[in-house]
């Protein structure tokens, strides 16, 4: 597919993602935060598409935006909101947070500067049509064991959550 106005869309999507991310932490209303997060996730899906990874983009939309965030919203709606809104937004750990953010940012910059040679000049030209197959091969052939371990872990987590949520059975 001939790319269309690639830089424009890249910057648009990145800007959306950043704006969404900022809104997530600045909104007082948790529902608004969650909605901003969805915006970020959708922008990221767009970026994946631009990287010729449509399968990842699709999964991003279905799982994160469509599934997980809906559950998030569910929980937020069921929990009493009024109390949360009155709470002070930035509590005393904001300094720690800031330090951590700066450290992470520096790390990114350093890695990018030092290891620029590691990144290919251009994107590896994977045929777009085989992206899904590639993901499947990686997951189910090369990294099958770790994939299954991860799913087992999730299962354990689910069972644990149910057990914890269940108060007691007489």
């Amino acid at each position: 597919m001939e790319p269309v106005a690639t830089p424009f869309f890249f910057y648009l999507l990145s800007a959306l993602a950043v704006v969404g991310g900022v809104l997530v932490i600045t909104r007082r209303n948790p529902v608004h935060s969650a909605l901003s997060l969805i915006l970020t996730l959708l922008a990221l899906a767009g970026l994946y598409l631009m990287l010729y990874a449509p399968f990842v983009a699709g999964v991003q939309i279905i799982l994160y935006a469509g599934g997980i965030m809906v559950l998030f919203l569910f929980v937020i709606m069921l929990v009493n909101l009024e109390r949360n809104q009155k709470e002070e937004q930035f509590n005393k750990t904001w300094l720690v947070g800031l330090v951590a953010a700066v450290a992470l940012g520096t790390l990114f910059v350093i890695v990018y500067a030092k290891g620029q040679a590691l990144f290919p000049e251009r994107l590896a030209q994977l045929p777009e049509a085989q992206n899904t197959q590639q993901v499947a091969v990686l997951l189910y052939r090369d990294y099958m064991f770790s994939f299954e371990i991860a799913s087992l872990l999730l299962l354990v987590a689910i069972i644990g959550a149910v057990v914890m949520a269940k108060k007691r059975i007489d």
Binding site: L78, A165, K166, K167, R168, D170
Partner: protein, 384 residues
């Protein structure tokens, strides 16, 4: 929402289900403007998620003080008022009132009048049940039966209109008999209606009786045992669906009911589905009665000898009939004047509505709607 808590006093009885995921308790107002409460009934629901912990009915929005009106009207003048209580079964109301006053005055309506009364009352029972079926099915989400039942109910209303000029609040009977002689072709009309509506009732049943979704929505929903029914004074089809074979038409026959052959359909479990089946069977039995009555309607006068001014001797009387909703009773105290000293109506809907709470506890919100529908209340009668 805030003032609802004021009425919640006895709702604390509901036990909290702590066996599964903890969730918020919610108090919800259903009505008074709600499509499924059949009028202006307001039900305050205390919910745990979608589970009903308790209900409280707030009624009286349609209270018109019928009993006070009666004390300020003569016996004849009050007759049309009773039609306005259970307005979908106005004929039954009129029958109960006229018979109560007749009993108080110790007069007997002539046989022909009694036959006309039986025919019209039973037609009215069918109309009432048809209306119930349509709205009940609509509440559960089946839109179509409503139109079918209204189409067929129309035929009954046409007969009423031809007989006495009114369709809904008929004022068909007078103290001592009937005002009007049957019109030409009355028997034929009724006969035609019976043959017309029999297959139609099968049609309703074809849509619903074995419909899986209908079964799931109505079976095991709003169960009430015979013991609870009796304790709560519930009468009519609701009582019979719980397995009590009791019908005033058989137990203490009035009008000409002792002369007809019919059965009392009963249910077993007392759930919404049984009540549905009982009412369907009742429609068929009513058709049987109508058919028999039209077949052997005697000739003769339609009015007993009634004094010009109705002035019952001092005394009191309680007379009840089997209205489509249950036992409809009139308790009249006379002081020998032309106006009742006290007239009390024992409304079936009012008493039956009390059972709502026991029927929906522990069930889901959607069941409340099914149960309100199956109780077949008419708010005009609940509030009077």
């Amino acid at each position: 929402m805030t003032d609802a808590t004021k009425y919640m006093s006895h709702l604390e009885l509901g036990e909290r289900d702590e066996t599964f995921l903890d969730s918020n308790e919610l108090i919800i107002n259903m009505g008074p403007q709600h499509p499924a409460t059949h009028g202006v009934l307001r039900v305050i629901l205390k919910l745990d998620g979608e589970k009903v912990l308790g209900t409280e009915c707030v009624i009286g929005y349609l209270h018109r003080g019928v009993e006070k009106i009666a004390e300020n009207r003569t016996y004849t003048m009050f007759n049309p008022y009773v039609d306005r209580m259970d307005y979908v079964a106005a004929v039954s109301n009129g029958l109960g009132y006229c018979e109560a006053v007749e009993k108080l005055m110790n007069i007997q309506a002539p046989p022909r009048a009694n036959y006309i009364r039986v025919i019209l009352t039973e037609l009215n029972r069918i109309a009432s049940h048809q209306l119930w079926l349509g709205t009940h099915a609509l509440d559960i989400g089946a839109m179509t039966p409503l139109f079918y039942t209204f189409r067929d109910r129309e035929e009954i209303l046409k007969i009423f209109e031809k007989y006495c000029g009114a369709r809904l609040t008929t004022h068909a009977f007078r103290i001592g008999g009937c005002q009007y002689e049957t019109y030409d072709g009355f028997e034929k009309d009724v006969q035609n209606f019976v043959t017309f509506v029999r297959p139609k009732i099968d049609e309703y049943e074809a849509l619903l009786t074995s419909n899986r979704i209908w079964l799931e929505r109505t079976r095991e929903v709003g169960k009430i045992s015979a013991k609870d029914c009796i304790a709560l004074g519930v009468t009519g089809p609701v009582l019979r669906a719980s397995g009590v074979k009791w019908d005033i038409r058989k137990a203490q026959p009035y009008a000409a009911y002792s002369e007809f052959d019919f059965e009392i359909p009963i249910g077993e479990k007392g759930d919404t589905y049984d009540r549905y089946l009982v009412r369907m069977a009742e429609m068929r039995q009513s058709l049987r009665i109508v058919e028999q009555a039209v077949g052997k309607i005697p000739s003769g006068p339609i009015m007993a000898k009634v004094p010009k001014v109705i002035k019952p001797p001092a005394g009191e009387i309680y007379h009840s009939i089997e209205a489509p909703k249950g036992e409809l009773g009139y308790f009249i105290v006379s002081d020998g004047s032309t106006q009742p000293y006290r007239l009390r109506v024992r409304p079936p809907s009012f008493v039956n509505l009390q059972a709502l709470d026991i029927m929906v506890r522990g069930q889901l919100v959607a069941d409340v709607i099914a149960v309100i529908g199956t109780l077949d209340i008419v708010l005009g009668e609940v509030d009077r």
